[in-house]
């Protein structure tokens, strides 16, 4: 057998976990990449041009397509982040028990969570960059500031993926995951200002939109794509999203520790 000189433990163990997830992704990326490009193309055509044709004069002086593209980008980031944090996390814990295998190695609970979160981030970033390429080619981006949507989408991804990790790791049946889509993701997507301005909602309902992490990312992304100032302060948005990410991280680590250290 090859004699191993006892190797030093990895300096950033979470990167080894990310590497594992990327090896798995290598088998499926083609299907994923295809939908990453197809989805924005279809949504831009459908919502921007299709629905937009019925909206005379656009929204706030820009065409409906240009107005909606920032919101769609943010909601794409949300969809990918949550899809990658629900069944995959639940399955690694309950079905294939991948996390337990990792737990028997020198990895710590935090490494396991961080490495998987990093993979979710990778998936969101590739989807968002594909989205920018497609919409840019279709001429839907008004300003070069649009590149700033990438870090915003990354922050949104962490803000929703981290608490979703905690949720998916704490439920006992995967039917709770479908509930998350029904009662959180879909309403958020519909009412957090992606398809119409939050100001169109009755006053009492608007705060519901403001509470969601999605609205804060939508406002920032839309402003970047249009090259205008956002409705809220940039720092306020970023702090709010960062608070979700930090709170979610702490929660996820705690739930994972409860599951993996028994």
């Amino acid at each position: 057998m090859t004699q191993l000189t006892r190797p030093a433990l990895p300096r950033v163990p979470a990167l080894r976990v990310l590497e594992y997830h990327l090896v798995g992704y290598r088998r499926t990326w083609r299907a994923g990449a295809f939908s990453s490009f197809l989805l924005p193309t279809l949504t831009v055509l459908g919502f921007g041009l299709g629905v937009g044709a019925y909206i005379d004069g656009g929204v706030g002086g820009v065409s409906y397509l240009q107005w909606i593209v920032g919101g769609l980008l943010a909601s794409t980031a949300l969809q990918v982040a949550i899809a990658e944090s629900t069944w995959p996390v639940f399955g690694n814990l309950q079905w294939q028990k991948i996390y337990f295998g990792q737990r028997s190695s020198p990895l710590r609970v935090g490494d396991i969570v961080a490495g998987h979160l990093a993979f979710v981030l990778f998936r969101v970033l590739t989807a968002v960059i594909a989205f920018l390429l497609v919409t840019g080619v279709l001429g839907a981006l008004r300003s070069p500031w649009a590149v700033l949507t990438v870090p915003v989408a990354a922050l949104l991804a962490l803000a929703v993926a981290a608490p979703t990790f905690a949720y998916a790791a704490s439920v006992d049946s995967d039917s709770w995951l479908a509930m998350l889509f029904r009662f959180a993701v879909i309403p958020m997507t519909l009412f957090a200002g992606v398809f119409f301005p939050v100001e169109s909602l009755p006053l009492g309902l608007r705060w519901l939109a403001y509470v969601t992490p999605l609205w804060h990312a939508v406002d920032l992304c839309r402003a970047a794509v249009l090259g205008v100032a956002p409705a809220w302060s940039v720092a306020g948005h970023l702090c709010y999203l960062a608070a979700w990410a930090a709170g979610g991280w702490l929660l996820a680590r705690r739930v994972f520790a409860r599951r993996l250290v028994v």
Partner: protein, 310 residues
């Protein structure tokens, strides 16, 4: 490596889950190069003990030292030198056989090139080379088990922990696993395993403890346990009557211990053939007579009882 200090040292080790005490103050020492077994019925506390030794479950009380380190404080450093084969396989079914080994090796800080070489050697060792590039999903239970064992060896561990390594495998697959584990033992790898198969314990373990209800009820080599807790031979008698009970009284004087089962009577004796002659001399005519050596199974059932625990 062998400094005479035990690799695993437990004193009064306790594991509690709420009100339930799974491990109730056990003392265990395992030395380098030993094959050590935890035997016991389901719920005896074997797996809880293994998880504490594997540094994934903090002890609720007592003292535990693995490789001279504290499992709570030095978890990653200890786990870097352990190989763990869990009761249920947790391989990635989507990855290939080889990728399961190489990705796992990376967790230990093993460079990619070394990980690949190591995977090739280990697949050869567990006789899975021809499946190296197929996915794990369609593999048989025995193949998955061997792959899990290979994965446990990827870091050249000082101690390999095997939690029920052959449960659920068919006889051919079990023998292949045993043969591989025996090879490891010959190479001087320290093995710690749990099992409820007596033949497995007799084949593999130099020394073992029998656990029941979270406690250790016996300790020693398989041979010593049989000598201490059972007679040399067992005579199994089967009578045609409805109840065996009627004959039991007449047999009491024949053996050191007589056990009446619903379908047969076991007489524990030093010399089985002599006893068979005595039975005939008493004028009893069992329909079926079997003389056999005592096994670890007799010890096990004697110590932990015949009541079914699920």
């Amino acid at each position: 490596m062998n400094t005479g200090r035990p690799l695993i040292q437990a004193r009064g080790l306790v594991k509690r889950f709420g009100d339930f005490t799974a491990v109730d103050g056990i003392d265990v020492e395992v030395s380098a190069g030993e094959a050590f077994g935890f035997l016991g019925p389901n719920g005896a506390g074997k797996s809880s003990t293994m998880r504490m030794v594997g540094c994934t479950s903090p002890p609720s009380g007592g003292k535990l030292r693995i490789l001279g380190m504290d499992p709570v404080r030095d978890g990653p450093a200890i786990r870097a030198r352990l190989g763990v084969c869990p009761q249920l396989d947790n391989l990635d079914p989507e990855l290939t056989v080889r990728e399961n080994l190489t990705t796992y090796a990376r967790y230990f800080g093993i460079p990619r090139r070394v990980a690949r070489a190591r995977a090739t050697e280990l697949l050869d060792f567990v006789q899975l080379s021809d499946r190296a590039d197929s996915k794990v999903e369609p593999l048989s239970g025995g193949m998955k088990r061997r792959l899990t064992i290979a994965r446990a060896l990827v870091n050249e561990p000082d101690i390999v922990l095997l939690d029920e390594p052959t449960t659920g495998l068919d006889p051919q697959a079990r023998h292949l696993v045993w043969e591989r584990l025996f090879r490891l033992k010959q190479q001087g790898v320290t093995l710690v395993l749990t099992t409820h198969y007596m033949d497995e314990a007799e084949q593999l373990c130099d020394r073992l403890v029998v656990m029941d209800g979270g406690r250790i009820v016996a300790e020693g080599s398989p041979r010593a346990l049989i000598e201490r807790h059972a007679t040399r031979e067992v005579v199994e008698l089967r009578f045609a009557a409805e109840s065996q009970e009627a004959f039991a009284g007449k047999l009491d004087a024949l053996g050191e211990r007589v056990e009446v089962l619903p379908d047969r009577i076991l007489v524990y004796v030093p010399d089985g053939d002599a006893t068979v002659a005595e039975v005939a001399a008493l004028g009893l005519h069992p329909t079926n007579v079997l003389v056999r050596r005592s096994s670890l199974e007799d010890v096990f059932l004697h110590l932990t009882g015949r009541t079914l625990v699920d």
